[in-house]
């Protein structure tokens, strides 16, 4: 497993799509606050409130989709390049190969999902004066939760990327899936009330609760943290099972 992890890490840091996406997000995170002319409106907010209303909304709506592009390159291109053949025939078990790939893809996705919150929050903190003291612990909690959900979403992306061995199809399908999954689940929940509890406890429906992170009680917080972890483990096992049965062309 160690060899596989080292290889995947090496490929991650050399991955052009990863570097490009990260670079674009960093530039955007630093430059976007400069477009906010008025310091007045911002100064009424605390840094955490700005983080919630500005940074997280961009991150939840747009940045969540960027790992879909990364999945298309980092996972699917292994099939189109033929390099998955040399990995699968290298004398490592399929289970280990899949988990090494999933873990490194998750790390990449977490990194992508954290760029905007970290860089934009830092840059606005330098540029603007905020109202009141900053609750850094709450911010760190939010970063931790983003990481957990990024990993859970990555486990879904990894399965789809493994099934569709074509980068274009994978990216298209993933973007469509992540853009539509919440409205679809909302619709199903309204029609099938018996599924309400189950649907409410999916990572898709739970993630928007990040906006109420400071209002969650202990039970809600536990659920909020446990569900992405369980999703990652369950979908990781499912994905490794699919990969184990898959014939690599």
């Amino acid at each position: 497993m160690g060899n596989l992890m080292k290889t995947e890490w090496y490929k991650l840091i050399k991955d052009r799509s990863f570097r490009t996406l990260a670079f674009i997000l960093i530039i955007f995170s630093v430059l976007y606050p400069l477009t906010m002319q008025s310091n007045e409106a911002v100064s009424k907010l605390s840094l955490y409130e700005f983080f919630l209303y500005q940074v997280l909304s961009i991150n939840s709506d747009i940045v969540k989709l960027i790992p879909c592009i990364f999945a298309g390159f980092f996972i699917t291109s292994e099939y189109s390049n033929g390099t998955m053949k040399s990995i699968a025939s290298s004398g490592n078990s399929r289970l280990r190969i899949y988990f090494a790939k999933l873990i490194m893809f998750s790390i990449g996705s977490i990194f992508i999902m954290l760029i905007l919150p970290i860089f934009m929050t830092t840059s606005v903190n330098i540029i603007f004066d905020f109202n009141g003291a900053t609750d850094w612990i709450l911010l760190m909690k939010a970063f931790g939760v983003i990481s957990l959900y990024a990993a859970a979403f990555a486990s879904i992306m990894a399965i789809i990327a493994t099934i569709f061995t074509d980068s274009g199809k994978t990216i298209g399908l993933l973007i469509m899936f992540f853009a539509l999954v919440n409205p679809i689940l909302d619709f199903i929940r309204s029609k099938l009330t018996s599924l309400e509890t189950m649907i409410d406890h999916t990572v898709f429906m739970l993630y928007p609760k990040i906006f109420k992170l400071d209002q969650l009680d202990h039970t809600e917080l536990t659920t909020f943290i446990l569900i992405p972890i369980l999703t990652f483990i369950a979908l990781g096992i499912l994905g490794s099972f699919i990969f184990r049965k898959k014939e690599i062309k």
Partner: protein, 307 residues
């Protein structure tokens, strides 16, 4: 000690309604260079993909270094270097970066092996040039370098000389011979260039429509590549009648261009020419010849039928 690196036992693979492999019993002796011959779609790549763990057999089994269960096979594959259906490269990485990724994958300590392997395949001067900008021949060499990383005991090479220039073909042939003779590496090589395979292989397996038709050593092949008399006369039909009548043999073949292959009387050419000229035939071409691997293969898969 196991004499065989690879042994298959009634190995079959079915894709929907097509049998890609049908009860194949193949064996590759340790230290041999096994030339795997077959047309496109004959089942060569399917067998290679099963051996390397990319596909699963429908029925049958195989032993790799004496291992046949899943865990044992996974371990055994660490001793194998492969090129499967073309070199597997990361296009945005340079040659040394590609090798580094594979070195890490195979857990080879130290980076010295990268320079050594690049030198071995003649790619030591490619610098930071990305693999996507390599010529087909360079990509093949890099694929071979990847296969050679970690000093494998068994090389599985699917069309490794595709796209190489004539000098490149010679170099790779000499390299493979060296690896086989000096390091004792067993090699399974499939290639469409049968003349090249003939210069390299010590054993052959001929596969056709999923069935292994024959396995034979070079000496057995030489034995079987019958010599014959190549005859061209002004009237091939009359010549055929003469051969059947006067020489009393049906062991000949009239080719579409009118030339005749006579498999008997190779050591009695004078008798043949005497019989033909005696019947008033004008001989245009007359020479003893032997079948090469290509001709033998064509005959074996039923491309040419002897009369």
């Amino acid at each position: 000690m196991n004499e065989y690196v690879l042994k298959t036992n009634h190995l079959s693979k079915k894709y929907q309604n097509k049998m890609a492999l049908n009860k194949v019993n193949l064996s590759i002796k340790k230290g041999s260079i096994y030339g795997f011959i077959g047309q496109n779609g004959a089942g060569k790549s399917t067998l290679i993909r099963i051996i390397t763990g990319l596909a699963y057999p429908t029925s049958g089994s195989f032993e790799l270094f004496g291992e046949s269960n899943e865990r044992g096979l996974t371990e055994a594959r660490k001793r194998v270097g492969t090129i499967i259906e073309g070199p597997a490269l990361y296009p945005h990485l340079s040659a040394s970066e590609n090798l580094e990724a594979h070195r890490l994958l195979k857990g080879i300590p130290g980076k010295e092996c990268i320079e050594k392997t690049l030198k071995l395949v003649g790619l030591q001067d490619t610098g930071k040039k990305k693999a996507k900008n390599f010529s087909l021949g360079m990509k093949q060499r890099l694929g071979l370098a990847i296969a050679l990383l970690g000093d494998p005991e068994f090389l599985i090479l699917d069309e490794p000389i595709n796209g190489l220039d004539p000098m490149g073909v010679v170099e790779i042939r000499e390299l493979l011979k060296k690896l086989n003779q000096e390091y004792g590496i067993t090699i399974l090589i499939s290639s469409h260039i049968l003349s090249e395979l003939h210069l390299l292989a010590t054993h052959y397996g001929i596969i056709h429509e999923g069935e292994l038709l024959e396995e034979l050593s070079t000496s057995e092949l030489n034995e079987k590549c019958k010599h014959y008399l190549h005859i061209k006369v002004d009237n091939p039909n009359k010549a055929a009648t003469v051969i059947e009548g006067i020489l009393s043999t049906q062991n000949f073949e009239v080719l579409p261009d009118g030339s005749i292959k006579l498999f008997d009387y190779v050591d009695k050419a004078r008798d043949v020419s005497k019989a033909l000229t005696g019947e008033g035939l004008i001989i245009e071409e007359f020479m003893p010849m032997g079948e090469d691997l290509e001709a033998y293969f064509t005959t074996r898969i039923g491309g040419v039928n002897r009369g």
